[in-house]
């Protein structure tokens, strides 16, 4: 563009396209922020999910979208009749556990045994007749889809989490 003696390599068409790209980028940034707020990239309304077994006796609250290295919790609620002989035996798939760093299990299990492709966590139940709450505090250790299956007595649940890098 000529500017009366000023030697400058500007360009009206380039400036226009640059401006358009900027506007598109700003819109994209807004979309990312809204998506993040709604839980698409981690904790949030879209991400908090509950899955229950067919008979409803076993429930798991988990995060549909999790992040690598970012602590999250798996809350399990079991009906009292799933415990036998004063013990709730919770089966957790090893595939899932291998993709997670288990920081803490609350309450601490009295025993953890290996049963093929699952680990069985045994939790002593002192007050029979009351619902049982177990929490696994985990930090995802691998990126991608982490599928889990949990079970206690005849009740089973399955869920999948997407772990972002």
């Amino acid at each position: 563009m000529s500017h009366d003696g000023l030697e400058v390599n500007d360009s009206a068409s380039f400036a226009s396209s640059e401006w358009r790209v900027q506007r598109v980028a700003w819109a994209a940034m807004l979309v990312v922020v809204v998506a993040a707020l709604s839980g698409l990239f981690g904790p949030g309304p879209l991400s908090h999910e509950t899955v229950a077994s067919d008979d409803g006796r076993l429930r798991a609250d988990y995060l549909r979208f999790a992040r690598f290295g970012s602590p999250s919790a798996l809350n399990i609620i079991a009906d009292p009749d799933l415990a036998t002989g004063g013990l709730l035996e919770l089966r957790v798939s090893r595939d899932w556990l291998e993709r997670m760093q288990v920081e803490n299990v609350l309450p601490p299990p009295s025993d953890v045994t290996i049963a093929g492709s699952e680990l069985v966590y045994a939790f002593p139940v002192v007050e029979p007749g009351r619902r049982i709450f177990v929490t696994f505090e985990v930090t995802p250790d691998a990126i991608g889809t982490a599928s889990a299956s949990l079970g206690a007595a005849a009740a089973d649940v399955e869920f999948a989490q997407l772990v972002y890098p």
């Binding site: 009366d4 500007d10 380039f14 400036a15």
Partner: protein
Amino acid sequence: MDAVVRSIAIYLFLFVVFRVSGKRTLAQVTTFDFVLLLVVGEATQQGLLGNDFSVTNAFIVIVTLIGVDVAMSVLEKRVPKLGKFVEGLPVVVVEHGKPVQEAMRKARLDEMDILEQARSSQGLERMEQIRFAVLERSGQVSIIPEK
């Protein structure tokens, strides 16, 4: 391996985000922009290093970042068209004392910003004393006074 991937990913991401956010952000025109630059560094750190506190990790990250920086500048020299996309082009924002409204709006500059730069770099007092004001690629505004 992931130290290299993280470094490249974060470098490119930051590059793209700052490039599309506009030149004002780069030049730290306002307190907002300055604070932003301070805080972005902090936000980046954890993503770059992860949980790895080893010196080896730090070395790998540093070498990768500098390597990508060098590669980008070499690429830019080799492919001239890339330079335009990477650096942008200057924009004339004031011509013969008259602000170019369209250009200033797009650059998110107002007359006060131009006058401030005119005072500090040339000691000028009024818009009429500015022959040309150019928003350079760096985000700085250069002032050419009327003779």
